[in-house]
């Protein structure tokens, strides 16, 4: 083998070792945590919606539309906090539309979800072009900035942990777990999801509970959209890149339990961070890693369906209170 070939092999080896180092570093942990925020938010949106009995495959569209709204408001007001609020509000509004269409309009939830995703994909481009004369990305914005400036793993980790949206996500996830498990509203939500007929006969207004729950879920997903866009410091069309579907996968893998769903999201986010660390290594490896969450979900679907298990979808998922 000639000298050049040896050199090339040596370089590849070094690159391989440094990639392994990157995998096990603090910056990797920081990347994982940071990447998990949009997933966790969207997954909680999915949990709230589906626990109340409304199928939600529109998480992708919620992430996109709220991402754009948060950047647009942050850009025009100069306030990241207002931007994040706008994202949450937009997510809630999209959730409300989905809930009204499904609960009041009797539109099939899958049809409505597909339409929402389609409208969000097209609508964000239309709005982008109207606002910024570009259908690919918004101008850069200054998002939240706390903690040290450095690029070392530790300072990245500190920045991630101090990020307001990450903190809000963590707190609201804990609150959601408690709420679904212990609060009156949570009990009603679960009743509507398990048996809308029984809930009706117990005096619960199924339609109103579902609309509230799906909208609240939209607000969660909206928070995720804001976090996604703030992380990039701009909005790019199609930037959700399937995260809404991965979040949905996390909900299913977790058996519709919010705490477990958050953990599944962190696991999927670690794959994301791994993908990032592998960038420039091998395209094939990158593709294989990006398939993992979906393959894992298929596997879990198969295994869970095989045996009668505690982790199953809400029994009244997709059922109306006054039918069947």
């Amino acid at each position: 083998m000639d000298q050049e070939g040896v050199n090339a092999r040596f370089k590849r080896k070094i690159a391989g070792v440094s990639a392994l180092g990157a995998v096990l570093s603090l910056s990797m942990l920081a990347q994982t945590l940071r990447a998990s925020v949009p997933y966790v938010c969207a997954a909680q949106g999915g949990v709230l919606s589906e626990k109340s009995g409304v199928v939600n495959i529109g998480l992708e569209g919620m992430l996109l539309s709220s991402g754009l709204a948060s950047v647009a408001v942050a850009h025009s007001t100069g306030s990241a906090a207002l931007g994040a609020l706008a994202g949450v509000g937009t997510g809630a509004a999209v959730g409300l539309v989905h809930a009204l269409l499904v609960v009041k309009g009797r539109v099939d939830a899958i049809v409505s979800g597909i339409a929402l995703n389609l409208a969000a994909a097209g609508g964000t481009r239309v709005v982008l072009r109207a606002l910024y004369d570009s259908s690919s990305n918004s101008p850069a914005i200054e998002a939240f900035r706390f903690g040290s400036e450095g690029t070392s793993g530790l300072s990245m980790l500190v920045r991630t942990v101090l990020d307001p949206l990450a903190i809000v996500t963590l707190l609201s996830t804990v609150a959601l777990v408690w709420m679904l498990d212990r609060s009156r509203f949570g009990l009603r939500v679960r009743a509507c999801g398990e048996s809308p007929w029984a809930a009706t006969s117990a005096g619960v207004d199924v339609a109103r509970t579902r609309i509230a729950s799906v909208s609240l879920g939209g607000a969660f997903a909206g928070l995720g959209g804001a976090a996604l866009a703030f992380e990039q410091h701009q909005f790019q069309s199609g930037m959700s890149g399937g995260r809404g579907f991965i979040a949905l996968a996390a909900v299913i893998v977790a058996g519709w339990m919010p705490g477990r769903a958050a953990l599944a999201c962190v696991a999927f986010a670690a794959l994301d961070a791994l993908e990032g660390a592998l960038q420039g290594q091998s395209r094939a490896l990158h593709d294989v890693v990006s398939m993992m969450p979906y393959l894992a979900t298929l596997l879990v679907l198969a295994v869970l369906s095989c045996r009668e298990s505690a982790t199953r979808p809400p029994a009244g998922l997709g059922k109306h209170a006054d039918s069947g």
């Binding site: 495959i57 269409l101 309009g105 339409a115 409208a119 097209g122 609508g123 109207a130 996968a249 398939m291």
Partner: protein
């Protein structure tokens, strides 16, 4: 049956009316008049022979995926996976087509590649089909997952050697495998990408709409879609019919690759034909499962797709996706409303007739 036709037509009209409203609102927001935009849309599509040819070309893959979605829908299944089934089939067709020798005549190559497309699409649908039929896992979730896996898998296989060296596309398919452009016979259509795959789509539609329901399997799939419990009691093999329906749907979705790979590009690259799977859902919903309705819906969405290009200078062509989304929701909304009206009307009639 008359009232069903009326209900379908009403739902379609409601869908189109709200779609038109959405279009007008977007046009107003951009400070243009809807009339002038429709003029532009018309001249970019049906106004010229070239434009009409392009509409036919755009309508072909979405007609295929519309038929695919409908074949699953009548068995009570939602095939969201047409998108991935098309991608995998396109890659398979392009790769097999490229491997064929240049001397293979068209009458052998084309049927062979159509078969490859159908088999590849069917195989990609088999996983979700078995998960649904044997284990009861919801096909919407599993087909969403297989779509994303298809996306990564196609990239992976292209990178691993199915693509030409140094490019992101497959080599050209054998010349015998290329479908004729309609412009080869009708000179005014020259330059447009309309090709003979539209005839394959129309034949598939006729078979699916008129022959398939008359076969035992086709009829039983419809019954399973209506009431699986009753079918079980009647000893209909429910699991088998469910599997068959989703696999058949995948096969038809795979055929859509004939329009893009064999009729248009002559090779496959990632993203070719993307989006047609989801538009197929819109076609099936707007077409109300009727052959004529699906042709109309495919042409409508083809027109919006092609017309969007003509409008792109003034209005982003992605605005057409919003119109499409509104039409989808409005048809579904209208369908439910119309059915409620008919129910109410029929109960009123029966109350008047029967003494209280």
């Amino acid at each position: 049956m008359r009232s069903r036709l009326e209900a379908d037509l009403l739902a379609m009209i409601i869908g189109l009316a709200l779609g038109w409203l959405a279009f007008s609102l977007i046009v107003f927001a951009y400070g243009e008049s809807p009339a002038s935009m429709v003029g532009l849309l018309w001249s970019g599509t049906w106004g010229t022979a070239y434009g009409a040819g392009q509409v036919i070309f755009k309508a072909t893959p979405i007609l295929f995926s519309g038929i695919a979605v409908q074949l699953a829908l009548r068995a009570g299944l939602f095939n969201i996976g047409a998108e991935g089934q098309m991608a995998v089939a396109s890659l398979a067709v392009a790769s097999v087509g490229a491997a064929l020798g240049p001397s293979v005549p068209g009458f052998l190559a084309v049927p062979l590649l159509l078969l490859v497309a159908a088999i590849a699409g069917a195989l990609w649908a088999l996983g979700p089909a078995l998960l649904r039929a044997r284990l009861g896992a919801h096909e919407v979730i599993s087909t969403i997952m297989t779509n994303r896996i298809a996306d990564a898998l196609v990239g992976l296989l292209l990178g691993l050697g199915l693509a030409q060296k140094g490019t992101v596309r497959t080599p050209d398919v054998a010349p015998g495998a290329r479908l004729h452009r309609l412009g080869d016979w009708v000179s005014s259509l020259q330059g447009s990408a309309a090709n003979t795959s539209i005839f394959v789509a129309l034949i598939t539609l006729l078979l699916a709409a008129f022959l398939w329901p008359r076969t035992r399997a086709g009829r039983e799939q419809l019954l399973v879609g209506q009431n699986a419990d009753a079918c079980r009691a009647e000893r209909v093999p429910v699991a088998r019919r469910v599997t068959e329906a989703l696999v058949l749907s995948g096969a038809v979705a795979g055929l859509a690759s004939s329009a893009t790979v064999l009729g248009y590009k002559g090779y496959f690259e990632q993203g070719l034909g993307a989006g047609a799977g989801f538009t197929g859902l819109a076609v099936a919903l707007l077409g109300r499962g009727r052959a004529s309705g699906m042709v109309f819906a495919a042409l409508l969405f083809g027109t919006l797709d092609q017309g969007g290009l003509a409008l792109n200078a003034t209005i982003p062509r992605e605005a057409m996706q919003i119109v499409q989304a509104v039409v989808i929701v409005a048809v579904a909304l209208g369908d439910e409303r119309v059915r409620a009206w008919i129910r109410r009307a029929s109960t009123l009639v029966s109350k008047e007739r029967s003494p209280a």
